[in-house]
């Protein structure tokens, strides 16, 4: 745990280089380039606005206007899902590097997390624009609490990095990780209050599971509070997030370090 942390800090410039490369690679040869990171969420927002204004017209207590509520939870969720999927594959995808060189392998899963964070950050102006439009149309959304957004991101970063490290190390031994993870993420999406407010779950045990066993629930709730509801999260929520971040980071980096001795052979 200590070793991974130290090495990640030591190789932060390598991390930055690789993230930069990852971003460049994604849009290489495309006409709009980085612009896609803005266009994608914009189109998504447009489609959902159309669907939820003219097709369904949900009137949900505590989630109105629904499009903005959905987007507030969906953008961070995209960060989670793609970080974990890409991060879990990062070691096997760079097998040559790990087998032949003294290369700090722990950097690779974290690169996936950081690269997808960039996409999330680039989508934020779209969400911000949407929220401003909402306020202008007299919806009670947003507020100064949005200033706390960086704090939430900073806590979520080690949580995701921990998960990515552990999954990547496991994936070296089991290629099944990818398929399990894909399905698990699909399930987790509905077990996280992204498309509905947490209050909607009335069945007690399920509500308990979603609240306490899903590591992404507190983060999603926090994003919704600071961005959508304009509420300052209470200390309990902060502790909840910090707790998951600590657990994920410690468990993930422990797993990674235990398996790192055999990585070069097994990959």
């Amino acid at each position: 745990m200590y070793r991974s942390t130290r090495r990640l800090l030591r190789f932060r410039s390598l991390l930055a280089t690789l993230v930069n490369r990852e971003l460049k690679a994604r849009y290489r040869g495309s006409l709009l380039g980085y612009f896609w990171s803005l266009v994608n969420p914009l189109l998504l927002l447009g489609v959902y606005t159309f669907v939820f204004s003219y097709v369904f017209q949900p009137r949900i207590e505590g989630a109105d206007p629904y499009v903005l509520f959905l987007m507030t939870g969906l953008f961070p969720w995209t960060w989670v899902a793609s970080s974990l999927l890409e991060g879990s594959q990062s070691l096997t995808a760079n097998a040559g590097l790990i087998r032949k060189a003294v290369f700090p392998a722990e950097v690779l899963p974290v690169v996936s997390v950081a690269a997808n964070l960039t996409h999330f950050l680039l989508a934020l102006p779209i969400l911000g624009g949407g929220l401003l439009v909402g306020r202008w149309m007299d919806a009670p959304v947003g507020g100064w609490s949005a200033l706390l957004l960086p704090a939430i991101v900073l806590i979520q970063l080690p949580a995701l990095a921990g998960f990515a490290l552990g999954l990547a190390a496991l994936n070296v031994h089991f290629k099944d990780v990818k398929d399990i993870l894909t399905n698990l993420l699909a399930l987790a999406f509905y077990m996280t209050p992204v498309i509905y407010p947490l209050d909607w779950i009335t069945f007690g045990p399920l509500r308990w599971v979603v609240s306490w066993l899903n590591p992404f629930t507190p983060f999603t709730t926090a994003y919704q509070q600071v961005l959508f509801h304009g509420v300052w999260p209470g200390p309990g929520l902060w502790l909840h997030m910090l707790g998951w971040a600590a657990v994920a980071w410690l468990a993930g980096s422990w797993l990674f370090e235990r398996l790192s001795d055999s990585l070069a052979e097994a990959v």
Partner: protein, 481 residues
Amino acid sequence: MSTAIRVDGLTKLYRRMAPGFRLRTLKSALLEGSLTEGLAPEETIRALDGVTFSVEAGRSFGVIGSNGSGKSTLLKTLAGLIKPTSGRVEVAGRVAALIELGAGFHPEISGRENIYINGAVLGLSRREIDRRYRQIVDFSGLGDFIEEPVKNYSSGMYVRLGFSVAIHTDPDVLLVDEVLAVGDEAFQHRCLRRIEEFLARGKTLLLVSHSLELVEEYADQALWLEAGIQRLLGSPRRVADAYRQAVAEAEGREHREAKDRRLAELAAEDEERVERPVVDAGGTGEPTPAEESGADGPTPASGPEKPPAPAAAAPAPPAPTPADGEEPRRWGSREAEVTAVRLLDAAGAERYHLESGSEVCFEIEVRAHRPLTDFVFGVGLFTPRRVECWGTNTHLAGFAPDRLEGVATVRLVCPALRLVPGEYLLDVAVHARDGYPYDYHRRYLSFTVTAATAGVGLYFPEHRWEFAGTLRWRRLPPPAG
């Protein structure tokens, strides 16, 4: 002097890839940090077995061995890429490793960024790398290419950059695997000069190479690995010689086995066609100059396009010319048969790796199936390209045959066989004085010749260089033998 590398009882097991082991190997990887804990012997491969050696700081150490002998595993263990299954590995100081092509480079990012990554992995600060950056690029000779992604590099460029980074990041121990062979001649020379400087600064080199000459020249000590087992540890000359000898013996064995198989096939064919004569396998005796010159005309040099009779003193034998155009390896009536040929050194030990100028004995065992009164024994030495170096026979030497019966041994002793270093093939024959073949063997066996100094051509006389006037040399070669 301090020890730079210490390897003690190093054993490395790899697991065989069977799907059923995955859960178990994960469990042992988690609990023991090893993939092979608790696996049965047949589920693992022993890549290294009890390897033990140490290298003093400032020395260079060579590792040789055939493919799959565990050389790369040893290097990876020293580099810290993989963990020993048992035993200890200690490397003092900073280690830079050049393992395989493009090792340590991320293919998608530029050479420049890779230099910084490599330096960082080796423990250099950004400022330290900044200081060396120019030198690294200049030495690699990459020029503007340094801004290109590494995946666009040619294999030579990979190696040049890799070596340049490794040598300029000032490691205490440099591990090099074979890669130098990829660079062009000029770059190889530059590398070797840098390695000499590196060693002169008291740094340590571990070199894995198939080039025995390189190991002989640059290593202070050498290790020969075979199937993970330490075959020999000692002076590079001795280790390389022993290795060459083993390779030559194995090749000789292969030759003989292939030949035996072929003979067995031919014999089986002959049995099927009983009516066919034994001697003539359907070929025609090609006329050669030897035929015209008569029985007494010694013709050591037969044209390469004709079946060369070893030191033929007579008409060419009725050599079979198979339809597939392949050279026949053996022909003759078998009234007398060559049953074994050995190369012996002065002490009478069998050797197929010789020092130029040393005593060699060609020992031929023959068996006569009927008593013969007309017989000649001959040998011929050829290069792999069928250039005849030397040939002689008992007829040329003036021996007049009287009687050969049953089993006999013939020895041809050369007190000093002066051949240019290289590989040679031996032809052996028993025939009548008019050239009628009893048993002709072409390429019966191969052997290699080495010498302290190199040379080209066929003849390697005893020699030395002398100089006068204002003339100096940076490094003196060892005295010619």
